[in-house]
Symmetry: C2
Subunit: 540 residues, 2 copies
């Protein structure tokens, strides 16, 4: 047909041209709201390209961002890839070792960072091998040992305001994200213009997120975390209003933004969804503008979905994905034959991870490599392939165990029901293999967290002489003052009708805090160690 290349510049050029006055809003560190429009945004993206040229950046060079969700970070999202360089969005929640590793492994040459993150960068700057400049995403430069250092706004202010982006080969790398590994250092995934373009397009399908120019979109999920699930790219592709929540947003900041900017679609971690709901129990915010609130990072408890639906009329939706998959693989979908179900039945559908996106291929296989039946009982590992699924880790020998025959082995264990909707039941390494059968730690956790006294629950395996592994439940109570008397009994009673007898945890441990990793997920490796050490004898 032709040799036209799928490039990110097509998205921004069209939106800036057709929706120049559509707004982009960014919450400033002082809580005020910075507002500009697509025309101004695109002008600054072009200025940024001229700045990159000034800094001596060449096509294919890597540039790190170390920043919150704000408008300057969004400028990097398009300016760097459209220039032909590669944006590495460094996870600011990583430990120093991981940050230094990721920046060195990616061979980043410049770091663009938020002002409040300067101390964190100073602590590791001496370890960085290739970085030749730091750019503070601000008007001014704070006192710092980083050197040489520039102010982003100063650089932009002296840059030419037009830049003619060339058409790049669509397979050109556009960005890199690192993902925490179960063991060892983070692993990098390189996204291409093509993969980001096709993933963002899928998000705009009516049957997926349905992102549209009419939307007011609040990406809570960090822009350093799998490109904020690809949502900013889809938003810019359509000309949607974007609201970026800025530095260290708390649940109440988000509620305020949803109300004042009439947010229609938002996406963030389940934990933030819980926090917002807690605040809503005491304070009134109008969140009725939300047509969907997507929660992720872990499975969303049905109880949370019910509360949002019943008390606020807000549909919670979720999907399945990972850094390796750009990330959306499956997404909530009410099928045509489910349209007439009750709200409660629809919430049940929303409590699953949903259906495969058009464009992808997926299979769920058992230990013998055979696809599991669609009975929602048999568990298997999810394998995926498609235009936005990675085929390797960046310069990493660990690729060979995760990418096989064109498929990515997710390590996630799921069931699939007759309607083709999946439910993640566990991680391959977290599923409890008891007497040849599998017990889902996640399903136990969900039911435990649905109990009114439980705030958080985490179930891990401990070794067992006879059964190989048995489940132990770690519980964080809502009201610690109440004490734990009779709670264990109540929880056993709560779980008994819901699971086979042999699924019930052998022991309940009431703890003060459940350890979490950089992405806010339970750190089950650490918890397993804690639990194993505290248990001296195997349960009977």
């Amino acid at each position: 047909m032709n040799s036209f290349q799928l490039n990110l510049k097509t998205f921004i050029e069209r939106s800036a041209r057709y929706f120049p006055e559509n707004e982009i809003i960014s919450r400033e560190p002082d809580d005020s709201l910075f507002r500009y429009n697509y025309a101004q945004y695109y002008e600054r993206v072009q200025k940024l390209a001229n700045v990159l040229k000034f800094l001596g950046i060449k096509k294919g060079d890597k540039i790190a961002s170390f920043a919150w969700n704000n408008h300057r970070h969004l400028e990097l999202y398009f300016g760097i890839p459209c220039y032909g360089a590669i944006l590495h969005t460094v996870n600011i929640r990583y430990g120093e070792k991981e940050i230094a590793y990721a920046i060195n492994h990616a061979e980043d040459e410049v770091v663009f960072l938020d002002k409040d993150l300067v101390p964190k960068m100073e602590a590791i700057a001496h370890k960085l091998l290739k970085v030749k400049a730091y750019v503070i995403l601000d008007n001014t430069i704070p006192e710092t040992s980083l050197s040489p250092v520039f102010s982003y706004e100063s650089l932009l202010s002296s840059a030419d305001h037009t830049y003619s982006f060339e058409e790049l080969d669509e397979n050109s790398p556009a960005s890199i994200c690192y993902t925490s590994a179960t063991t060892g250092l983070p692993k990098g995934i390189v996204y291409s213009h093509r993969s980001i373009y096709l993933h963002a397009s899928a998000l705009c399908f009516t049957d997926v997120m349905g992102i549209s120019e009419h939307d007011h979109i609040l990406p809570i999920v960090p822009m350093f975390h799998v490109c904020a699930w690809g949502i900013p790219y889809a938003a810019i592709a359509t000309g949607a209003k974007l609201i970026l929540p800025g530095t260290r947003p708390k649940a109440e900041d988000l509620l305020r933004l949803i109300e004042s900017e009439k947010v229609t679609f938002s996406a963030g971690a389940v934990t933030l969804g819980i926090d917002m709901l807690t605040i809503l129990e005491e304070k009134k915010y109008n969140i009725s503008s939300l047509r969907q609130l997507m929660l992720g990072g872990q499975a969303v408890p049905k109880a949370l979905i019910d509360k949002y639906s019943q008390k606020h009329g807000v549909p919670i939706v979720q999907g399945f994905g990972a850094t390796e998959t750009s990330p959306i693989v499956t997404f909530f979908h009410i099928r045509r034959d489910q349209e007439r179900l009750s709200d409660d039945q629809k919430n049940e559908i929303r409590s699953r991870q949903g259906m495969l996106l058009p464009g992808l291929e997926m299979k769920i296989i058992d230990e013998l490599g055979k696809e599991v039946p669609w009975d929602d009982e048999h568990m298997g590992e999810i394998l995926v392939r498609g235009p936005w699924i990675a085929s390797e880790y960046f310069k990493d020998k660990r690729s060979s165990t995760s990418f096989i025959d064109g498929w990515w082995k997710s390590g996630d264990i799921a069931t699939i029901n007759e309607q083709g909707s999946i439910r993640i039941v566990d991680r391959d390494k977290d599923v409890i293999k008891s007497g040849g059968e599998w017990i889902s730690s996640v399903q136990l956790e969900n039911e435990l967290m649905a109990h009114p006294d439980v705030l958080e629950a985490c179930v891990v395996a401990v070794s067992h002489e006879k059964w190989l592994e048995r489940p132990i439940a770690c519980i964080l109570l809502k009201n610690k003052e109440k004490g734990t008397t009779n709670v264990e009994e109540a929880l056993v009673e709560w779980l008994t009708p819901k699971f086979p007898k042999w699924w019930l945890p052998d022991q309940f441990m009431f703890i003060e805090e459940i350890p979490k990793n950089a992405n806010g997920k339970y750190n089950k490796n650490l918890l397993r160690e804690i639990v194993s050490q505290s248990i001296l004898s195997s349960p009977s």
Copy 2:
């Protein structure tokens, strides 16, 4: 990222797997409805692939379809390209000369044709150079001189019901359509798997057609006409219910289908839209299930939009496109800042051809190649480029005049308003160049057709000594018995407040029939000849 190729098989494999019971319905020649589901459809698509193998078809071979919109034609839509061969959808409304030319030029080896079209094919079979077999899309073979000839159903019934489609290079040709040329024989456009995939994806965007699994889609536009505007591909990609209107559907057949199958989205020629409305004035059909009725082939008169909206609550939408563009380039879009407009104002927006689709680039240029201002007054020619825009005609020297520097020169003249919505005002060759200024024949026609006494109107240029060209209006009256007395006067009065004085036609001719070409569009070349011959002296 990976080497995964965009293939049409991904669409059908996913939909057959996840929506096996979703229906596909096809109107039979006897007016009964044939029904089957995606699982059965896909099984027959696989059988078809085995039939192609049996017929000795190789990758890259061309195969003609000569058929109405029915389920067997839809099987060819996926079976032939997924097998690796190329589907040439021959326009059954072409004259014998054009049909023979297209089949020979494409080098088709097999022709799949509907039973009722056998006589038409027999008449030209002796001219076909490469065709080695005919397949009748039916259970039985009628008496025919076509040879060798097979029955589609017999072939399918003996074919194996599984076929493993290989992953093709996404740039592999998938189908060919021919488009009528202003002068000379039809010109062919080759679509690739990639171009069809990306075009269909765009149609699924909420901001474009929003095609979804929830839709019940009735493609009225013939499947031999630019892949029925790509709609069947988008429908299959999502798992939508498809309703195919079969042989020679009349307006009332369509209304019956819309009512009985609760059609949500339909698309067809403006003339059919007019015919349906005429019937609705006398008979009652419930068409309220339609969320959108897309009309095309020519600009949709505002009066028609108003009537559908006011009397039936059905929004008429339209776009701009051509065989060279797969075809959708622009589509109706109510912008966020237009949400609160009145119905009438929204109908005004619907009377335009809409906004550029995400993924494409467009410019409207004047005779000097400069982009026209967005004032809705300056006229210019539309140029387009993007992943589903052709870069050449198939084996045709005429390519060089239409494809320049990666852009397709549409030959369509448009204005664009401040909101970025275009209005096609004419064809380059139909615009009336009067005294150095341009007069849009289409705008005059639209206003004339909005007059209660006018059924059809066609405005063409005649030569003029002083002004070079002047407009003449040919009018088909609704009620011929009434006579033409005072009608000319009334029409002048009707047009006067709407246009500059020098736009008004120099003469009105009342005629019995306006000649149309194979696609149902006015044949202005022929009309110009008729008009010129009947005018002996230049108008004063």
